[in-house]
């Protein structure tokens, strides 16, 4: 499926999420990297030791969800833009997502944008909570969004409508 369409299967997506117990403890990185390719910036950028160091540069990322605190360093360091940070504790009704977004115009804090799934279909509305675009991010801005909890496993992208 993924190798024919570019869309990760439900099982692949589920395998990149930690347990509900871990999600209930706060922000954590979700890594959707399912193919062995020569690439390791996620592992070398992690300052907390949450990413198990690679033996081979082709290794798949192996994240210790208990040690990860969702700091987001790996999110803008990943050349494949395959990582996001999820905070299930954001509110009773909403989960917050921090995603990399390399398009103009950047959304404004407070703006409502379209929430898209992994096929680019519109599935919800999302409120922009934060826009980070510091020099260290090297032109990969991070957008934090509040999304209804029912879209936890399906939300993955946004469309900014002016």
């Amino acid at each position: 499926m993924l190798e024919r369409t570019g869309i990760a299967s439900k099982e692949q997506v589920a395998s990149s999420f930690p347990s509900m117990e871990r999600l209930a403890k706060g922000p954590v990185a979700i890594i959707e990297c399912f193919q062995r390719i020569p690439c390791n910036p996620c592992a070398t950028s992690c300052k907390r030791g949450a990413m198990i160091p690679f033996e081979d540069i082709n290794d798949l990322p192996n994240l210790d969800h208990e040690t990860c605190n969702g700091c987001s360093l790996c999110v803008f360091n990943c050349p494949g833009l395959a990582i996001m940070v999820v905070d299930y504790t954001y509110s009773d009704t909403h989960v917050s997502f921090k995603i990399p977004y390399e398009f103009l115009p950047l959304p404004q804090v407070g703006q409502m944008v379209k929430g898209l799934d992994r096929q680019g279909n519109e599935i919800c509305r999302a409120e922009v909570l934060q826009v980070m675009n510091s020099k260290v991010m090297d032109r990969t801005p991070l957008i934090t969004l509040a999304v209804e909890k029912e879209h936890l496993m399906t939300f993955r992208n946004i469309k900014v409508v002016s």
């Binding site: 993924l2 190798e3 024919r4 369409t5 570019g6 869309i7 990760a8 959707e32 990297c33 399912f34 193919q35 062995r36 390719i37 020569p38 690439c39 390791n40 910036p41 070398t44 950028s45 081979d56 540069i57 082709n58 360091n77 990943c78 050349p79 494949g80 833009l81 395959a82 390399e102 398009f103 103009l104 898209l116 799934d117 992994r118 096929q119 680019g120 279909n121 090297d138 032109r139 990969t140 993955r156 992208n157």
Partner: protein
């Protein structure tokens, strides 16, 4: 006649790294580049590179160019831009044309790093205005700041097709679909996923049937292929597009190597005819070395590492030894091995087995 110790032909990622390593070894280097800008294809790559930190992973290609050019500027490297190497003679003499002036150079060692050219695809009206190679689209957008059109059909789901599709969307161009004749996506799946979640369909097992339009491209017809790569009648789909971007692979630019008389071989995995080479990247001729895509189509990260190896080895062969030769040489060979170790490197390792001396 001009005499130099090491001549590097081509100022892309492989040639720049070859010039750096040869000059750091103490050799006097002449670097020729046919365009007016150094960097080759790197200067169009706005995405973050893969690989490890040693190959600038996480850094954008456009910024890697600046890092390499700055290094070259600090070293004993004479750079000739707008310079076409025309011929490599049997006696080792090279002829160069620059701004209408013809000159001859006799280098002790030559490192050929001429890169690759794009392959084409045969279908009715494939010469119509609006049908581009992916490299041309990147040149228009990322060098000249020109939007190539409004609605694009991308042909080829390798890394170049996927990356250029993403760059087109960043430039505000509508990418209608990406198709590929293969049953699976050839490029990295993380690239495919980030485009798919923008809503762009990726159609594997599809090819272009024809292109139509009055003065320029207006419509593309595609068709599905079966397991035998034959068209399935009745599966035609039409796209109203003013741009078709063809990205169906690259072929080594090996004319100078043919001319030099070194031993050449057709290696399918490498995209065409390539020179046989040893682990120092020396061809069957003692004075000619290679680096990068001219020796086989691969990624820029391995082209840079190959450049360093060829630069170190070519200099060493004329008794210009880098002070840290042993450790650097070992490190670069290990980097190449690890870049090629995974599934993505299967075809490279298969090609190497055929092209090694």
């Amino acid at each position: 006649m001009k005499y130099v110790e090491v001549l590097v032909v081509g100022g892309g990622p492989a040639g720049l790294c070859a010039a750096i390593s040869a000059a750091e070894s103490g050799a006097e280097v002449l670097l020729t580049e046919r365009s007016s800008i150094l960097g080759g294809q790197l200067i169009k790559q706005t995405h973050m590179f893969f690989g490890s930190e040693k190959q600038y992973a996480g850094t954008r290609g456009i910024d890697i160019t600046d890092i390499l050019i700055d290094k070259v500027a600090e070293l004993n490297v004479e750079v000739m831009k707008d310079a076409n190497v025309l011929s490599v003679y049997e006696d080792g003499v090279i002829s160069i044309e620059q701004n209408g002036k013809y000159m001859k150079v006799r280098p002790e060692r030559i490192i050929i790093a001429t890169g690759a050219s794009e392959k084409s695809l045969a279908f009715p009206n494939n010469d119509m205005p609006g049908i581009y190679g992916a490299g041309a689209v990147q040149t228009l957008m990322n060098i000249h700041g020109v939007k190539p059109g409004h609605d694009v059909l991308m042909v080829g789901a390798g890394n170049i097709g996927l990356i250029v599709s993403y760059q087109l969307m960043q430039a505000g161009v509508n990418v209608k679909a990406i198709l590929d004749a293969s049953p699976t996506i050839g490029g990295y799946l993380v690239h495919a996923s980030k485009i798919r979640r923008m809503g762009v369909p990726i159609l594997t097992r599809h090819t272009v049937k024809r292109a139509d339009g009055n003065d320029s491209l207006e419509r593309a017809t595609i068709v599905e292929l079966n397991e035998k790569w034959q068209e399935i009648p009745g599966t035609e789909k039409e796209f109203d597009v003013d741009v078709m971007c063809v990205s169906v692979g690259l072929s080594p630019l090996s004319e100078l190597l043919f001319q030099s008389g070194c031993e050449m071989k057709y290696v399918r995995e490498f995209g065409g005819y390539v020179p046989l080479r040893d682990s120092n990247l020396k061809t069957s001729l003692d004075h000619i070395y290679i680096a990068g895509d001219v020796g086989g189509i691969e990624e820029a990260s391995s082209a840079m590492v190959e450049g360093h190896i060829a630069g170190l080895a070519a200099a060493m062969s004329i008794d210009k030894q880098h002070p840290a030769f042993e450790s650097l040489y070992k490190d670069y060979q290990e980097q190449l091995d690890s870049l090629r170790a995974g599934h993505a490197g299967d075809h490279i390792r298969a090609g190497m087995a055929k092209a090694s001396l």
